[in-house]
């Protein structure tokens, strides 16, 4: 059925068409720009593969850092020789933590947070313990994985 009068003015029609098309055009452009500017939004790895030799002989009560994606992990050999792997990043504001061998605790210098030898937060602002990883030895390789992750090594 034909209307006697138009529902919108010419101006509204043209402006809507223009700005709508422009919006579509720009969103396409912006999308391309975003994909360029945000290359790989860093995902942490599920596991890392290291050389067993490099870590097995560190002295007791010491820590050896290893790369965990873009951050740091700490391979920690306690006094009794047992070994754990912790993420070396403070759970408060993500500063790197340091190991204090004399106190046998981990210290975060940013806001004076302390973690015990198992990574539990004991003093200061950190709200959670340091993330701990599972350690497995596979031949000559040391595999440090996130807890619960099934490690599948690529067939080299």
């Amino acid at each position: 059925m034909k209307l006697k009068f138009s529902l919108v003015t010419r101006r509204t029609f043209l402006n809507t068409l223009f700005f709508g098309w422009l919006a579509a055009f720009f969103s396409g452009t912006v999308y391309a720009l975003m994909r360029f500017a945000f290359p790989t939004l860093g995902k942490e790895p599920d596991f890392v593969v290291l050389n067993w030799k490099d870590f097995v002989d560190i002295p007791p009560n010491s820590v050896k850092p290893f790369p965990w994606g873009g951050t740091v992990g700490l391979y920690y050999k306690k006094d009794d020789g047992s070994m754990i792997a912790l993420k070396g990043v403070c759970t408060h504001m993500e500063c790197n933590v340091a190991y204090k061998p004399a106190e046998r605790r981990f210290y975060c210098a940013c806001h004076q947070g302390w973690f015990d030898a198992d990574g539990r937060n004991i003093s200061g602002p950190p709200p959670k313990p340091l993330e701990s990883f599972a350690i497995t030895k596979e031949g000559e390789k040391l595999i440090i994985a996130r807890k619960g992750v099934k490690v599948e090594l690529p067939k080299a």
Partner: protein, 97 residues
């Protein structure tokens, strides 16, 4: 006699320093040769990706032409109203609330 002659020549040709020099030469020049021969792809190599790029170009042109058409419509409209003298706003016109 002749074999001894040849043996001496071979010995000289293949003596250790010479071999080491040749080996070093080959070792150091091969990667350079390989890098020069390797062409860096400045356009997506996989044909599927290449087609997507061309298709995007067509869509892009469609968008540009659409925008130009709309702008021309707006231009025609403003020229029409200007010809009528209807494009000026009366500053003291009362607003309909």
């Amino acid at each position: 006699m002749l074999t001894r002659h040849i043996q001496n020549h071979l010995k000289r040709l293949l003596n250790r320093t010479r071999l080491a020099a040749v080996a070093a030469l080959l070792f150091w020049t091969t990667p350079l040769g390989a890098a020069a021969a390797e062409k860096i792809a400045v356009f997506p190599e996989v044909p599927y990706d290449g087609y997507i790029v061309y298709e995007s170009l067509i869509v892009f042109w469609a968008a540009i032409i659409g925008l130009i058409v709309i702008i021309r419509m707006k231009l025609r409209e403003i020229e029409r109203t200007q010809a009528l003298g209807a494009d000026r706003q009366d500053k003291d016109a009362p607003l309909l609330e």
